[in-house]
Amino acid sequence: MDYSFTLLIVLLPLAGFALLGLFHDRLKPMVAGTLGTLNLLIITLLSYYTAFSYFTQGNGESGYTAIKAFNVLWLSFTDSLQIQLGILLDPLSVMMLVVITTVSLMVHIYSLGYMKGEKGFQRYYAFLSLFTFSMLGLVVATNIFQMYIFWELVGVSSYLLIGFYYERPSAVAASKKAFIVTRFADLGFLLGILLLSFYTHTFDFTTLTSMDGVAISNPPTAIFLGMSVTTWAMLLIFMGGAGKSAMFPLHIWLPDAMEGPTPVSALIHAATMVVAGVYLVARLFPVYALSSPDSLEVIAYVGSFTSLFAAIIACTQLDIKRVLAFSTLSQIGYMMVALGVSGYGGEEGLGYMAALFHLFTHAFFKALLFLGAGSVIHAVHSNLMTDMGGLRKFMPITHITFLIACLTIAGIPPLSGFFSKDEILVAAFEHNKIIFAVQWLVAGITAFYMFRLYFNIFWNRTPHFHHTPHESPALMTFPLLFLAIASVLAGFVPFHELVTSDGKAFHTALHWMIAIPSVLIAFVGIGVAALFYLKPNILPEKMTHSMKGMYSLVYHKFYIDELYLFITHQLIFNFISRPVAWFDRQIVDGTMNFIGEATVYGSNVINKMQSGHIQWYIWFFTSGVLLLAFLLLYLN
């Protein structure tokens, strides 16, 4: 079947961006919003159609095959290293198309209500289109350099959207931070790409991941600083992914990125862009698994640590969006763990499947959480949970959908989060018991902080509101309902038949020995949260008092931000940049000026000799003549 129509999926958002961007001041806000949303509706339908026909087309002997729907030479470096822009359809990218367009469409619709009346409404929709374009371009990339191109583009769209309220200094700072931190990670990504392509002579994913490609059949074994260059390359590439997916220690930008409008956080910083790192590792998974298992090990530990670390911080935050941001970190950590513990092929590849399954379900329930939080913020005009409480009476739809999302992320059966998290735990259990234990514990903490959030918003004490909160308009509640349904049902998608490490289906079933304890600990988490936060009481206060130092350490996110601030401001600005500027002005330029001044001084000295006193001139003249005469006479 001919998939060249998929080109439209990528080009339509670009056209939308161009149209809305160029004519943003000529279009009425609602016209621009509606145009953007309709455009996205078409794209969504197209990608559903693509997914439908791709997956129903059948799973042959060798599993799903990758199809290059489109490919054009964009820039050629050498005969073998060429950047192509193209569209690669395989289970992974098709699944991502569905996720991205769905969430993006919901965010588009939701924003019609949420952003109504904001200054720069048209600009907002233009940026959303730009982001959608970049993200779609990223997932359909046929080669790693195309991915890098769109990787940078999503970075910049994220920058633009975080800084949407550009008159707010905190938003400006947050956008700058997000860009620079991810840029730093991208430096690693770029070096990784260069290193990998130098040895394998290709950027193309299909060639890189094919079993007889150089990267797998004959990985370069040159050693650099005690590690093989393959491991170096794969770790550097993972560094890029870790930056985008906000893995420790490159996570610091994500909580601050919540300065952007809430729907943006739902789209970019929860469902799509931040999982690009997971997508990247998944894309190159055969290379990771078969040529460089060491780097997979690193990924597993980084993911595991991040998920624990972020979950702990999430328990103390008061800003509801920040809680969600840390929860995102934690959940992406899960995905990374799943990839890290996975093997390649068949049931060995359970972790791979689980990671993408979790990516899929997480996109829906996390977007739902963010949009629900947005609905709440819209109603009470505050981000802090101390300003909220008892909202279930005022906002029934938001309440119900939020509850569903919380139950999903806590992993309560039969909601989707249960299935995907279960697969991850199973994969972790089979690979590494310590990581399994950590992830199991994190499941409990997750349930705790999510329900802490839930109870604090919808139950607990009802504060005095300036004006009575009311349910959000239908434009905002429809996406909530849609995503709630998706969160409930997504777990029943037979992922092990669709998206697997080698494209072939395998059989898997619920593992009761792991499912039951994980559900139990989730219930414990919910129970503790209910005990603390369901009704106003002094238990939380007592807890924080009894662990004061610990609490403040966690509340300040382990002072990682301060550490970074110290490194950038003190070390880089004051100890590198400032001396460089000084050195340049004083030493380098000083030398040049010194040469100039020395010339002027010298000329002044010589100048003195021309005094205007004729007799001096005659003296010089006469002595010169005599000197010459003597020289001629006696030196010959």
Partner: protein, 497 residues
């Protein structure tokens, strides 16, 4: 007649036209018409160029013609272009065109200003089309000398100091260059016979290695001074800071490219063996240049200084890539020259426009300009994004080509130098975003700015031309990359052997 001569005649005619008319309005109109014609002609020339190549003409240089002008030293007016010079000509005409529009409202002595500006451009065109060393040097001086007047008369701040410094340093470079050039000349016929300044002829004969080793540093540093090679770059911040807008544009956009182009066309092309032997010294210097310029830019507070240091960093990358001496990196170097030329011209144009409105260039004294002058601010953001290498804009294409090219050397020395150079992409992001954040975003700092006018039509013409060029290269780079690469294959075969 050789069509290339039109590239010189159109500006000369324009200057003549400006001399004749008296009215200021006509001065502008004639300059605009002349430079538009030049821009148009550059594209016609590009078309003819492709036509000739399409017809199977595989000479290294097209449109070659020569006329003897000083028989006893064998100096000729010898012109010809290949893909690289073609690309540089396009760059020059775009930047000059934008420059005329940006200086629409120059304050005093308009006539003289436009004449000097166009004279400068004429020198640049002459330089790019010459394939006779002496003529090349002549045009080089024609391009450099009006700079003194342009900065000294129309500049701002300590303009005499800056003009003098710039001119003296560039003249110092010229002196080295002259030594190198004469060295090449006197070694151009090692087996006896007629000495020559003709590049192609010298290349064919080849200069003995001992002479190469001696004269390569002279030539390379001579051009390097103009290309802001560390530590000979300090004319750049002062010069740019004092120069009027259009002059900064032309200077950073085009004139600095004479350095890179010359270093390639003369130093590396004629003395490849010496380049091989001595490359390591200059690789160290240029990779320092790249990072050093970027770090320097972080600390600056004056917009023009920031941009000048950024130019040091970007131009350092040009020379760095040339020294890698492979096809990919060299293509990247030329691309980077064009890309940097366009975006730095855009930067300086915008800085000039902002300065014209706020009368300050200190970023801390401004803030929140996005709100009052959105058009200019958006252009500034685009220029910034191009500078930090965002895909879809020209900077990315150039930098990636350079990095991939540089990465083809697998020894540790080249690897480390390359990694140092690549790390500049992060530092660039830091200083660009710092400027964008402080200058354009955030709350409006000064209420007096509320009444500021956004871009006028001529400013829009100037700015948008450059943005279109930047985006066009960034989105469809293949044609340009192929145009540049095509002559390189032959040239670099001799370089690597």
């Amino acid at each position: 007649m050789n069509p290339l001569l039109l590239l010189l005649f159109i500006p000369i005619l324009t200057m003549a036209g400006i001399v004749i008319v008296t009215d200021l309005k006509w001065v502008r109109v004639i300059s605009a018409i002349g430079m538009s014609a030049q821009l148009l002609f550059s594209f016609v020339l590009l078309y003819w160029f492709y036509q000739q190549r399409g017809a199977g003409n595989t000479d290294p240089m097209l449109f070659v013609s020569s006329t003897m002008w000083y028989e006893s030293f064998n100096i000729q007016w010898k012109f010809g272009i290949d893909g690289i010079s073609m690309a540089m000509i396009l760059l020059t005409s775009i930047v000059t065109f934008a420059g005329i529009f940006v200086s629409w409202q120059v304050e005093n002595l308009q006539k003289e200003f436009f004449i000097s500006l166009i004279l400068l451009a004429t020198g640049v065109y002459g330089f790019f089309i010459s394939i006779d060393l002496f003529t090349m040097f002549l045009f080089y001086e024609v391009a450099v000398i009006p700079m003194y007047l342009l900065i000294g008369i129309w500049g701002t701040g300590p303009k005499e100091y800056s003009a003098m410094k710039l001119t003296l340093m560039l003249m110092g470079g010229s002196a080295l260059l002259l030594v190198g050039m004469l060295g090449i000349y006197f070694n151009s016929a090692p087996e006896g016979g007629q000495l020559t300044f003709d590049l192609l002829e010298i290349k064919r004969v080849g200069i003995p290695l001992s002479a190469q080793l001696f004269f390569f540093p002279f030539t390379f540093i001579g051009f390097g001074v103009l290309g802001a090679l560390f530590p000979f770059h300090t004319w750049s911040p002062d010069g740019h800071a004092s120069a009027p807008t259009a002059v900064s544009m032309l200077h950073a956009g085009v004139l600095m490219k004479l350095g890179g182009y010359g270093a390639f066309r003369v130093a590396m092309y004629l003395m490849p063996e010496a380049a091989h032997e001595l490359a390591w010294i200059f690789i160290i210097l240029t990779s320092i240049s790249v990072v050093y310029g970027a770090f320097g830019a972080i600390w600056q507070k004056d917009l023009k200084y920031i941009n000048a240091y950024s130019s040091v960093s970007h131009c350092g990358l040009v020379l760095f890539a040339l020294l890698m001496m492979n096809e990919t990196a060299t293509t990247g170097a030329i691309l980077q020259m064009i890309s940097h030329g366009l975006m730095t011209a855009l930067f300086f144009a915008l800085i000039g426009m902002i300065y014209g409105r706020t009368h300050t260039r200190m970023i801390h004294e401004m803030g929140g300009l996005m709100k009052v002058i959105p058009f200019l601010s958006v252009l500034y953001v685009i220029a910034g994004l191009a500078s930090l290498g965002l895909p879809g804009l020209s900077g990315f294409v150039a930098e990636m080509t350079i990095f991939v090219g540089a990465f083809q050397h697998s020894d540790t020395f080249h690897r480390i130098a390359t990694i140092v150079a690549i790390s500049s992409i992060v530092i660039t992001a830091v200083y660009i975003l710092r400027v964008v954040g402080t200058l354009l975003l955030g709350p409006l700092k000064n209420d007096h700015y509320l009444h500021l006018q956004d871009a006028t039509w001529f400013e829009k013409v100037g700015g948008v031309t450059l943005v279109i060029a930047i985006a066009a290269i960034g989105m469809a780079p293949l044609w340009l990359s192929n145009l540049i690469r095509e002559p390189l294959t032959a040239i670099l075969q001799t370089l690597t052997n």
